[in-house]
């Protein structure tokens, strides 16, 4: 077969390959999130209180310990799980007990969650309990916010600055 015919026969292959690369490298477009929605991200990392309070050892208990280990205060390492609630316009969006990290359950409790919501004005309430109380919460923050479409709204937490942070 003459070389020129061969080259002409090759053209459809190169064209098809090029079209495949051009198309699938960008199309079809993917809708990751409804354009009319905003996204609320809850991200916090906080250590709950110790499960048991520290106590002073009795002289008998101290005497049983090796001389170099005789610390008068004994603290159990284990921490309490956090109870976190997010309420959006009186609807419970999220509620969970977050276990502390670590084999001894002595680390921080962490959560990272995403909640797509319709854009518009909403009242968001965030609550957190980190103590062994049975009712109520140790931290609470509520705010009316206006979410624009595709907005990324973050609910963070920092106990040192007073608790929840709405960003």
């Amino acid at each position: 077969m003459p070389e020129i015919w061969r080259m002409i026969l090759q053209l459809p292959f190169y064209l098809a390959f090029a079209l495949l690369l051009a198309y699938l490298s960008q199309q079809p477009a993917y809708q990751h999130q409804d354009p009319g929605h905003a996204l609320i991200k809850l991200s916090l990392s906080h250590a709950g209180e110790h499960k048991e309070e520290c106590r002073r050892l009795t002289p008998e208990e101290l005497a049983e310990l090796a001389p170099n280990m005789r610390r008068p205060i004994s603290c159990n390492r284990e921490r309490l799980p956090l109870l976190v609630e997010i309420v959006l316009d009186d609807n419970l969006l999220y509620r969970a007990y977050l276990a502390p990290a670590g084999l001894s359950r002595d680390g921080e409790s962490t959560v990272y969650k995403r909640f797509p919501v319709t854009a518009g004005t909403h009242t968001i309430t965030a609550r957190l309990r980190d103590s062994n109380r049975l009712e109520g919460f140790d931290y609470e923050h509520s705010e009316a916010i206006s979410l624009s479409p595709q907005q990324n709204f973050v609910i963070g937490f920092n106990a040192d600055t007073g608790g929840f942070i709405f960003l």
């Binding site: 090029a18 809708q31 990392s45």
Partner: protein, 524 residues
């Protein structure tokens, strides 16, 4: 299903053979094309890195500069970088599918198969991390989805997706880590590619120049016609809603929006493990591996040069014969193709004083058995167009051909046929012609059998076919399993040609008896 896929591949092969010639057939160059696309990605990547600014805010602008201000060089390089990466994915998956369909992944070939699975992960790590560094909206989506996916493993103390919470949370150090991953992963991929071909003798890592030039021109034209663009700067205070994904690399990401990350991990990890175990599900039933007969091995190393899988090496002599070295077979690498016995100069059927035992051969398919078959199968042929077919058990089979006056000897690979066997058959008048039928050209089941036969018969590779063998009395047909029609037609033409030639004198019953006795002697 595999049979149907094989038929599809062979049909595509036939079309490409016509358009590209067998030597340029892209379907038979998939591995080499993979290497070629990889080098394009590396060269274009180095160029881009020269102008790329690794800062969080500067990264996007430096890529935009390359794309728009320097479109004639940087823009083309960026597009080449993307399209060659995508082309790499295409040829890699075709390569994987082809090797599976043609059953070229079991036995000693498990190493290339399993290392290929590791390469898939490295390929995706290289490609996906590349989309992060542009730091446009697609990068933002990929970075967040990827880190959330990793967080689902629960191996990090705090979720790494927190690094992308908002504008303030992204640290320059973390961004530098992403860039480091995009450089380290392709380097590891290169190392893996090198390992992948370690068990191959004469691995083909460069496609034919014409095919390479065609692909490069196609990619350049595509880069000019449809340049790769960014999708607007990343903004962590917003969420990209509609994204133009590169489906070659990011096809799994939409699934993360519908299924849990752990489930997707289970699917991809389980799929990889399952694919990696395929060579043993079930394990191939292999012939006994080649054995070395030291009495007939003079350490010439022709078998070492011809073994396609580096299964033979030369080691110091152990039997006291006056040669420096001897061949040694590594059973874990030997595919029992017999190409080594085709290369052995002592595999000559003309030997009369000693038994026909070459320096190396397959115990289940000794060279003496080939000679015996020549004698027995040609016995009933008559006329002046008697044809003896040597075919490969993985290639063209003409046993069902409607014409008469031919006999067929099936070998594990036609590369197992010593050229002296052709000389013997023709010079002793056991047939009027020899028809060699094998796998499709450049698609030998054992990689190099076809090539070595062609070179031996063309007197370009040792052991050479002797000059006295008339060229018009032997022919080759590389039609493959599905090429029955083509083989039939070529056999018909060959028989007609032989009939027109002046017939050689027939083998006298006495000399046939003599050759037979030699065979018996050898068997004894």
């Amino acid at each position: 299903m595999r049979r149907a896929l094989r038929s599809v591949f062979e049909r595509i092969d036939r079309f490409f053979d016509i358009a590209f010639t067998p030597a340029w057939n892209p379907m038979q160059q998939l591995g080499a094309l993979g290497w070629f696309f990889y080098w394009i990605v590396i060269v274009s990547g180095i160029y881009l890195y020269i102008f790329f600014d690794t800062g969080i805010t500067q990264a996007y602008h430096s890529v935009e500069y390359l794309t728009h201000e320097q479109w004639y060089a940087g823009g083309i390089m960026r597009s080449l970088h993307r399209y060659a990466s995508d082309a790499l994915v295409v040829v890699v998956f075709l390569h994987l599918l082809r090797e599976y369909v043609l059953d070229r992944f079991r036995g000693p070939r498990w190493f290339a198969w399993v290392s290929g699975m590791v390469l898939l992960w490295l390929l995706y790590a290289s490609g996906i991390s590349g989309y992060w560094v542009v730091w446009d909206k697609l990068a933002q989506y990929v970075a967040i989805a990827t880190t959330e996916w990793f967080d689902s493993l629960g191996i990090f103390g705090k979720p790494i997706a927190r690094n992308f919470l908002n504008h303030a949370s992204l640290s320059g150090r973390f961004f530098t880590l992403l860039i480091f991953i995009h450089i380290a992963a392709p380097l590891m991929l290169l190392f893996g590619m090198w390992l992948h071909i370690q068990r191959h003798m004469h691995p083909q890592v460069n496609p034919p120049r014409g095919l390479a030039a065609g692909c490069l021109i196609m990619l350049v034209i595509l880069s000019l016609w449809f340049p790769a663009m960014s999708q607007g700067p990343a903004d962590l205070d917003t969420v990209p809603s509609i994204i133009n994904l590169d489906w070659f690399y990011l096809f799994i990401y939409p699934l993360l929006d519908h299924y849990s990350g752990t489930l997707i991990w289970a699917v991809v990890a389980g799929g990889t493990v399952l694919l990696s175990l395929l060579p043993w599900l079930p394990a191939v039933r292999k012939r006994e591996v080649a054995v070395v007969h030291l009495d007939n091995c003079n350490g010439c190393a022709r078998c070492v040069a011809d073994c396609p899988y580096s299964a033979i090496s030369m080691v110091p002599r152990t039997d006291g014969l006056p040669f420096e070295q001897q061949a040694a077979v590594d059973p874990s690498l030997c595919l029992s193709c017999g190409i080594c016995s085709g290369a052995c100069p002592s595999a000559s059927p003309f030997r009369r004083r000693t038994a026909l035992i070459p320096g190396i051969e397959l115990p289940a398919f000794p060279i003496q058995a080939v000679k015996d078959m020549i004698l027995s199968k040609t016995q009933d042929l008559a006329g002046n167009n008697r044809v003896l077919i040597f075919n490969c058990e993985h290639g063209l089979d003409l046993a069902a051909a409607p014409m008469t006056n031919f006999a067929q000897i099936t070998l594990p690979c036609v590369g197992m046929l010593p050229p002296s066997m052709i000389d013997f058959t023709l010079s002793r008048k056991y047939s009027d012609g020899i028809f060699i039928a094998g796998c499709r050209e450049h698609d030998c089941n054992f990689r190099l059998g076809n090539e070595w036969v062609q070179q031996r018969l063309a007197r370009q590779r040792d052991p050479y076919l002797r000059e006295r063998v008339p060229a018009e009395r032997f022919t080759q047909c590389w039609a493959g399993v599905s090429g029955f029609k083509q083989g039939l037609s070529e056999l018909e033409v060959f028989q007609e040609r032989l009939a027109r030639l002046s017939p050689p004198a027939r083998q006298s019953p006495e000399s046939r008896l003599r050759d037979g006795k030699n065979a018996e002697c050898a068997n004894a």
